[in-house]
Every structure is written in C-alpha cells, then in structure tokens.
C-alpha cells in the first residue's frame, strides 16, 4: 500500500487558550484533488501552516509523503508547492527577479523554461516591479512560483482570490493537467462552487474540527435532499413534524421548501392523502449542504 501524501493524526493547535484546530485527522492519497472547506477562522490556514512548518502543533503529528513536517521540513519543501492566501512578494524586485530567486532554491534542470512557459500562460510582465502589480497579478506570480520546481504536492490556500474568470479557467485547466501527470492537490477554499467543480473529495472544517469527510458525490447524494411542495389545499402542521426535516428554507402560503434527510417513503406516504400542485425533490448544491452543516 502506498504512503499517503498527507497524513494528519490527532493534530491540534491552540493559541494560548484560543482554539486553532482540535484533533484533526486526515489522509490524502497520491494523485487526489482534495478540497478543504470552511469559513474564515475555521482552522484551514492553521492546518496548512502546520503542514508547512510555519507554526508548530500543540499536539498530534503530520506527515507529508511519510516525512515528519517538523523534522524533515527541508526534504518536504523540495517536493511541495504552496500558494498562500495573502502574501506579498519582495516589492523591490521585478517579477523575473523574484521568480528566479525562488527557482534558485531548487536543483531543477529546466527551471528557466518552466518559468517562461508559466509566465506566458498567465500573461505576466516579467519586467514589472512587484510593488506595481495589482492583487490579481500578484496572485498569478504566487501561482507561478509554486509550480516552478514541478512539485509532487501543491497546497493552495484560497488561490483564486483576485483572479478574473478567464484566468481562473486557465488556472483550473493547468491544475487538471498537472494532476493528470500525478500531482496531488490540496485545495483550501471557502468558495464552494470551485471546490464542487474541481475536487473529488472534501473535508468540511468547523470551529477547528473536521465535521465531514466525503467524496463530493457521496456528500451530495447522502440523504440530504431539497424538497419543494406546493399544496392544493391548505397546509397543516403535520408536515413539519416529520422525522428528518432538517431545516425549513421558505414557507409562503401553501408553498414550503425544506432540507430533508429522512426516509423518502415516509415523506411520500405523508403526502399521499393530500392535494399536491407541485412537488420537487432535488440534490442540494454544495453550498446548501455546507450551510446545513454550519447551521
């Protein structure tokens, strides 16, 4: 059995008394595109920062490709690329100078070709000073620097912030192509649509704890349905006491929509004696699932 690319065991981090993350367990296999979702302050960046040895855990351990993130951080960083959520490059450098500086830390042969290829793809002006770049262009520089050394694992923390839709499309296309060549991708975001479209498996983190770890498809199909009913006659309260009713989304006149995780036969049985004008049962969007977990 191959060694997991990322293996997090019982990982915790406290800032004094404040919680960062608590008893996080994760295992990510080779070649996965893994989504890590949660709102700001949930613990996404804390987890990433521990993986990159920027901060030290209060408990537990983490390994990347079998190597301990504290003791073997140098070896790990030979094979990891990272796009931070909000990082400024050295303002006094121009783009080419900065990327060349990043590249010189790695013993790669074809680095200069790669630099030019990626810069062309993202339409970067290599002669521009970093200080003069817009947020979007800085993000492009950040993406390029993360891929220069052909990493085996790419860690992305809110990578699309500031990128226009065209660049986002190019970015995802590039990531898919790199993934097909074997790159594992750890994608942290609070933008659910991009996680939904791009990732195969996802972990939802809430208040420092992993509350759900599933395949995107399983998560979608897992019981939770969005139900919309329009009654022909008056609506009575019987419908609201059915087991599995998770959350009423809207209730206007004879129309009601809600999230339902109970037995579908029971719901249909309950409705069988009623006059129904319209009934829709659909898969909720990932955003709705996410909000459900965060309710």
């Amino acid at each position: 059995m191959s060694v997991p690319v990322i293996e997090i065991s019982d990982l915790s981090k406290f800032y004094g008394k404040a919680r960062g993350i608590e008893h996080v367990n994760l295992e990510i296999g080779e070649g996965e595109i893994f989504g890590f979702i949660g709102p700001n302050g949930a613990g996404k960046s804390t987890t990433i920062r521990i993986l990159l040895n920027l901060i030290f855990p209060s408990g537990g351990s983490a390994r990347i490709m079998g190597m301990d993130v504290i003791r073997e951080t140098k070896k790990i960083k030979q094979v990891v690329g990272y796009v931070p959520s909000d990082a400024s490059a050295y303002d006094s450098m121009d783009v080419h100078e900065f990327l060349s500086y990043c590249l010189r830390f790695y013993p790669v042969q074809s680095g200069t070709d790669r630099l030019e290829e990626l810069s062309a793809l993202f339409e970067l002006d290599l002669k521009r000073k970093i200080a003069e770049l817009s947020m979007g262009n800085r993000k492009k520089v950040s993406i390029v620097q993360s891929l220069l050394h052909n990493p085996k694992l790419l860690i992305l923390d809110e990578p699309t912030t500031g990128l226009d839709p065209l660049m986002q499309a190019k970015f995802f296309q590039l990531l898919r192509s790199e993934n097909q060549k074997g790159m594992t991708i750890f994608f942290s975001s609070h933008i659910l649509n991009e996680v939904q479209l791009f990732c195969k498996r996802v972990a939802i983190i809430k208040e420092g704890k992993i509350i759900q770890l599933e395949d995107i498809e399983t998560l979608r199909k897992k019981q939770l349905k969005k139900v919309y009913i329009e009654f022909g006659d008056s609506m009575n309260n019987e419908i609201f006491s059915i087991p599995g009713l998770e959350k009423i989304i809207t209730r206007i006149g004879n129309r009601v929509s809600f999230m339902y995780s109970g037995d579908m036969n029971e719901l249909v049985g309950l409705l069988s004696g009623r006059e129904i004008v319209n009934l829709t049962i659909e898969e909720p969007s990932l955003e709705e699932i996410f909000m459900h977990y965060y309710k």
Binding site: L52, L54, Q78, A87, Y101, R104
Partner: protein, 269 residues
Amino acid sequence: MNRNLFSKEMRRNALSLMLWMITITLLISVTMSVYRTFVENQSKVLGMISLVPKGALEFKGISNLNDLLSVLGFYAANNTIYMMVLGSIFAIVLSSNILLKEEYHKTAEYLLTRPLTRSEIFFSKLAVFFLHVFLLNLVTALAGFICMKLVQKEPINVNAFLILSLYTLLLNILFGAIGLFLSTLVKRPKPITTFGIGLVLIFYFIYTLSKITESVSDIGYLSPFKYVNVDVINPAYRLDFWHLLYFTGISLLLIRFSYRLYNRKDIYT
C-alpha cells in the same frame, strides 16, 4: 547558510548600508576638518573647554585637556559618538528587522516554504548582519584614519586606534544581538525599529547621566557604553579582557537564545 538567501539579503540591505557609511563618514570628515583650527587656537579653545565639568570631559574620554591636542585624542573625543551611537542604531535597526521583516512584509510564507531549515535562514541572515556591521565599521574607521592623516603629519598610535575601533565594533555587535533577540520574542509581525533606536538612546543617556552626575555614577554599569574605553591617549590604553568577555559573552548568549527561539517560533504574516 544558504548562498541564494545570503546574496539576496546583501543586496536588499546594500542601499541602507551605503547611506549609513556616507552619513557617518561625512560627520567624521566635518569634525576632523576643524582640528587644525582647534590646534592653532588652542589657548582660547582649551580655556573655554576648561569651564566644562570634569565628568562631562571624562565622558568623552578626556582626562587631560591636552589630550585634545593629539589628533587621536581629538578624534576619539569628537567622533566616537557617531561610531558608537549611530553605528549601534544601524546595528539594532538591521538586526531587529532582518528576520522580523519577512513576517510584517508578508514574505515569510515564501521564504519559509523553500527547501531551507530555520537554521539555514537564521545563519544566512546573521552572516549578513555581521558583514554589514563589519563593513560599516571598517569603512568609517578607514575614513577616520585617512582624515587624521590628512590633518596631522605626525605618526598616529595605530595600536590605540585599532583598539578603539574594535571596541566600537564590539559595541555595535552587542546592540545588534539585543535587536535580534528582541525580534525573536515578538509574537505579532510588527516592526520594532523605534523601540530599538530608543533602547540605544536610553543606554547612552544612562551612561551620560552616570558620567556627569556623581551621585548616580553606579547606574552607568547598566549601560554597554560604560565598557567602551575611549581614553586613547593614556599610555596604558589596551583592550580590557573583562570588557572583551562582557561584549562577546553577552552577544554570543543573546544570539544563541535568538537561534533557539527562532527555531521554535510560530511565524505569522
């Protein structure tokens, strides 16, 4: 040590180093340019200086007014302040920022995700600090020596001059070590430049106060300036072993603590 990081840091701080070199050299040159006028009008000037309290003169390393007639005595009395105070400010500003600026400039996430250990980062930056402080001291001392040679044809006591320069270098390094140590204690990524400059000035003030106010002379022992001997004209002038131990011991200890703290520090941006 990492060569790529070292050369980038050298370039990054080069302009600041040049400006400090030029400023201190200019100040020394201006001061030394009045030496001849001073000697030519010695009776008038010394008469005026004799009105200055003894403690204030001792504070400048003048135990005998005639010391000022020697070019080295004049240099030590009038220029040491630039090299000691300004050099120490340069050292503490550089050292307190050299690691910390990666955090408050939000570049730490790029640097610390390269294949480098914290030790390599620490020692690469430490080497840059040492080289910058050494170069500043070397250039300003050379400028001082050339100025002395230009205004005085008589031989200069090179040995005393070198000891004085070494004292200045050791003092600058000590303040640099203090700055480095403080920067590793800082939890939040904010610059501590003002605090560092304030610290040098406070220590200098304590030293000054201890020299000119006899009743509080003992507080001078708290200040590193106390352990710099500027009495270059004294025939017994030498590098005191205990002073040397004080500077090197405290500097090494602070650097050692800084290294340990940095290796375990949570880095935020």
